[in-house]
Assembly symmetry: C2
DNA sequence: TCTGATTTAAGGGTAAACCCTAAAATTTTA
DNA sequence: TAAAATTTTAGGGTTTACCCTTAAATCAGA
């Protein structure tokens, strides 16, 4: 018997997962959380064997949460859930201790396989992602995903304020730094994310849940 | 017995809906589509009694698709699916012939109720949305949703190019109009969507699937 | 058909974004 | 602790965005 918890802000996804896994004999869903905070509080009560963890959450991101959780709950297995076939995401969250990575278009059988695999402390990745990582390791460019560099803490802060329509001056005041510094971060963000202007920054930030 | 089809680009949502409704006796899911085009082609083969239609789709939007479908399939009942509690959306899609509107955080029982309600040609809306529409009709501002005016065809074109990082000059060249006209559209968009700059335009465009 | 909405466009501004180079100070990581 | 990464700041410049008013031409609905 494997106990399972889910963290995902999409109620429909949680419902879907619950119903899918309810039919599986030796998997028991014991909790569902919608936010980072929910998860931190909820796991204190009872800790599941495996946590299905969405990367994009309203009050934070699953990548950082994964790291935090692994520090407290060494035996907890975490499977990241995401819509994005993104090598940088996968690398990062596995570096942060995740035991698996699933795309949200996964099937029930793959889901069950993933849960049982990580339960035995073996890393689970879908075939497509394994292939992508292999290509990446061999230095081959892969068409389906585009590279997203890791943003620094400060860059994320600036980016999230840009998305909130702050001007550079307003950001400077908010963060107690000069406009010039903010502009430097803007330029770095534009370079790192390979976009041309604010429009691109906001689009990428929202699409990839970088903030 | 009610036959059902689903149009949603989120595989997980489709899976969730399928599994949820598989358990229901007199509802049979006969098809699932991921795009506008899929749906148009698929319905030619066999038409369900009810279509669950996501508003945000990769190759178009459910609002326009709803109108198109209703012209061809008069008896088809359509329930719009969306994450947004947005009065303008609801009004628009119901104006376009939709028979119901569900939020994606719906429950199984509400889902079944909605399907059976629209089957009998009665409009279905969740209680919260009914209340919102009532408040709106009474001229009361409602806190949970913010008003999104309908954008004109040209405004949508400009907005979608802004999201694609085009400058005003590039948009002007693309659409064979002057920069001044593009700037006029930009200003109108900023006013209509109650934002301050491009960042806001892109955010709202993506969040509300306006493009 | 007339009327309102949409699309087009201009002049003349100010504010903001974006780019370059360069470098010191600080923090993190190996 | 040394090396690497991050954060900070500056000068000086170009381009783009944004705002104001005003208005003609075109399109679509009652």
């Amino acid at each position: 018997m494997t106990t399972l918890a889910i963290t995902d802000d999409h109620a429909m996804v949680v419902e879907g997962l619950k119903t899918m896994l309810n039919q599986v004999e030796d998997i028991q869903i014991i909790d569902a959380f919608y936010t980072v905070n929910d998860t931190l509080l909820g796991l204190k009560n009872k800790t599941p064997d495996v946590l299905l963890l969405d990367i994009n959450l309203p009050d934070g991101n699953g990548i950082d949460l994964c790291k935090t959780l692994k520090e407290t709950y060494k035996d907890l297995k975490i499977i990241a859930l995401s819509n994005f076939e993104d090598i940088a995401f996968i690398k990062q969250i596995i570096k942060n201790g995740a035991n698996g990575y699933l795309l949200k278009n996964t099937t029930k059988s793959e889901l069950v396989e993933a849960i049982q695999t990580v339960k035995n402390d073996v890393l689970f990745l879908p075939e497509t992602l394994k292939r992508m990582l292999l290509n990446d390791a061999l230095g081959k460019p892969n068409n389906s995903s585009y590279f997203v560099p890791n943003l620094t803490r400060r860059e994320k802060e600036v980016l999230s304020l840009i998305v909130k329509e702050y001007t550079s001056e307003e950001i400077a005041n908010e963060l107690f730094i000069t406009i010039k510094t903010v502009e430097a971060h803007r330029s770095n963000l534009i370079q790192k994310l390979s976009v041309k202007n604010v429009a691109g920054l906001v689009r990428v930030a929202l699409e990839k849940g970088l903030i």
